[in-house]
Amino acid sequence: MTIVWTRDGIVENDPWMTAEGEAEAKLLALAEALEHAQDNAAFGVVLQPADDVRELAPLLDRVAIIALTFPAFSDGRAFSQATLLRDRLGYKGELRAVGNVLLDQVPLMLRTGFDSFEVDHAPTIERLTQKRLPGIDLHYQPATDTTLDGQSYSWRRTAVING
Amino acid sequence: MKTKVLTANRLTDGISVWLGADGEWSVALKDAFLARHEDAVAAIEAAGKQALADNRVVDVNVIEIEETEHGPRPYRLRERIRAAGPTIDYVQAPASNVSHAA
């Protein structure tokens, strides 16, 4: 079973998830997305770790969702891609983690700007459903997410606890 | 075919263990079940997979041993050291090596 999760819970009828049995992918690869620049319809993009996110800059206002790929959970390139999309390109739309998405990386993904997650690992789905994330709310560095000042050194932050 | 045994490390404490004939894991290589035929090797491999799935052990490996009069002796030095422990006297007695001038 594959689900899409956000901080608000499991998403029903997500328009961008390719359900089992469906032939056509809903998200475009980067090269295809660049070709679609002429179209007016909103579209979704899925990037691979080696893609340069800056190439999306001219299309950002038309992109409905960007998915970044974790082909293996050890491949951390998408954390930097997410950071650049949010901080450098000012992307405000939905940013989804796809691929090998495991519970222990989700807090880091949230901090680097991801807001939705496609998950097929059962124990991860279980914990996400219970909203029991293993993150630490005290941060030693600023990241993309909105936080409170750490109230001491300039590099520290505290997570916004919104329940 | 060289005789084989199954070895792994216990999940809880990481200690090296070998699969015995009774299906239990022993900390002594000499207790290992000796797989001398294809069928036996297949059986220990299956047992290893199961033990991994049961979260009893990690890093499961089939290794080749030589049957000697002193018991099974792994062909690889690495496995011999795993079986016997560090080859050095690793807890030094204090004050046993005292500096002295010429």
Binding site: F73, S74, D75, G76, R77, F79, S80, Q81, L84, R88, D104, P107, L108, R111, T112, P123, P134, G135, I136, D137, L138, Y140, Q141, P142, A143, G150, S152, Y153, S154, W155, R156 | N9, T12, D13, G14, I15, S16, L52, D54, N55, V58, D59, L77, R78, R82, G85, P86, I88, Y90, V91, Q92, P94, A95, S96, N97, V98, S99, H100, A101, A102
Partner: protein, 556 residues
Amino acid sequence: MYRYDEFDHAFVAARVDQFRDQVERRLTGEISEDAFKPLRLMNGVYLQLHAYMLRVAVPYGTLNARQMRKLAHIARVYDRGYGHFTTRQNIQYNWPKLSDMPAILNELAEVEMHAIQTSGNCIRNVTADHFAGAAADEVADPRPYAEILRQWSSVHPEFSFLPRKFKIAVTASERDRAAIQVHDIGLQLKKDDQGRLGFAVWIGGGQGRTPILAKKIRDFLPEADLLSFTTAIMRVYNLHGRRDNKYKARIKILVHETGVEQLSREIEAEWAHLKDGELKLPEADIAAINAYFAPPEFGSRAEGWGELAAWKKSDPGFADWVGRNVAPHRHPDYAMVTISLKPIGGIPGDATAEQMDAVARLAEEFGHDEIRVTHEQNLVLPHVALADLEPLYRALLADGLATANSGLITDIIACPGLDYCALANARSIPVAQEISNRFGDPARQAEIGDLKIKISGCINACGHHHVGHIGILGVEKKGAELYQISLGGSADENASIGQITGRGFEPDQITDAIETIVDTYLAERTGPEEAFIECYRRIGADPFKAALYNSEAAAA
């Protein structure tokens, strides 16, 4: 030294809880070993040949007596009564249980210690000059910056799944005692011509399969830009470092394959976006961290001068030890003392719980409660009054910690090797022991002079053999151990990678081979004032190769 504030305590406590949860999920099988492995590595837990291994961080090699006592306690209660100090200034335990890890980490947290990021593909312990804060030749103490980097790199969400491990070292003098040129990032604290503090920045150094010296990419980076510039380096590395081949994944390969000019341009381009942002370090923050590293009150202890002279005269053993293991401090009445963890015939870098307790006690009594771990696997008391050297020596003698061999041939650096390590191809400790015993005679050692032997049991080079004056690499050939020798490596400011001499040596030949090399040096040197490394650089490898290989043919 740095003291945890409420934030630090809360963070480490949360981290322990997080890991406890992860261990529980592993033990019940909720997460597989594959998924658990990177998590346990980021908490310093390895699986070795015989058991798990826990690597505890000693940030920039600094600890106090209370912490050392805790390390002794952990050795005693959770392990087999000893620990091993490493070439990255950390400590390793060889027999802890996974099920005990949360308890061990709790105990460490009580004394402001942890095992966070001592392994895994993340930013590791930031190491520093072990004489920081005491050496006369430093521009300023580099450790506050190591502390800032340590904090900032802790559970960094963007940089926790790098292509490979990442190691940073900091020094603050022209003399490099932290081996910065063989680190992924090397930093040298310096002043510009207006007296402002900043760093020379090197990237892409490393050992392992492909030893490479770092390339300097910045002559002067103002101190306020430390975090933003490091972020730029890390981001470029994270995005472009190779992910297809574990042995080509360090930043040194990226530098080599991209070219340092090109890579430097990419880093500068990224940094341009970051330099005036939230990562810029306010002066007040630097000053606040600096304040933790204010040196202790060094009262005048001028009586030490006369006392020292008298003791040396009456006790040749003491004189020997002072000559080798005691170095001048920036305060004239004090000294920096090296506590050798290399007893003749002993296991390099190992200390028993009793010895750790002894060092803790002596640090309190004679050392202003400060201890250092060196990347050469010894301990240091950086602030000892000359007047206290003799009672300190007596106490060290009683605990087997007074071997007068700092920097000598028996001050060997050796990784744990095949006796412990799952990655090893050959044993290193028995080789170190045999060499140490062969050359143990103090007169012989004195005659040979400064000579660093570094031994690794596999190509990962944790024993730093590439930068040994004599390096020894254990390999496996046809199922047996074989030892390759390299010559002329150096980890100081005149860094160099050693050159392999030729065919390797079997375990029963390696010590003779070392003796041949030493004899060649003694025969060829201009005099005792020409150290081994200088002699090698003058005469080259050929005389050594001839002695090693031609004479064998002749003797056969």
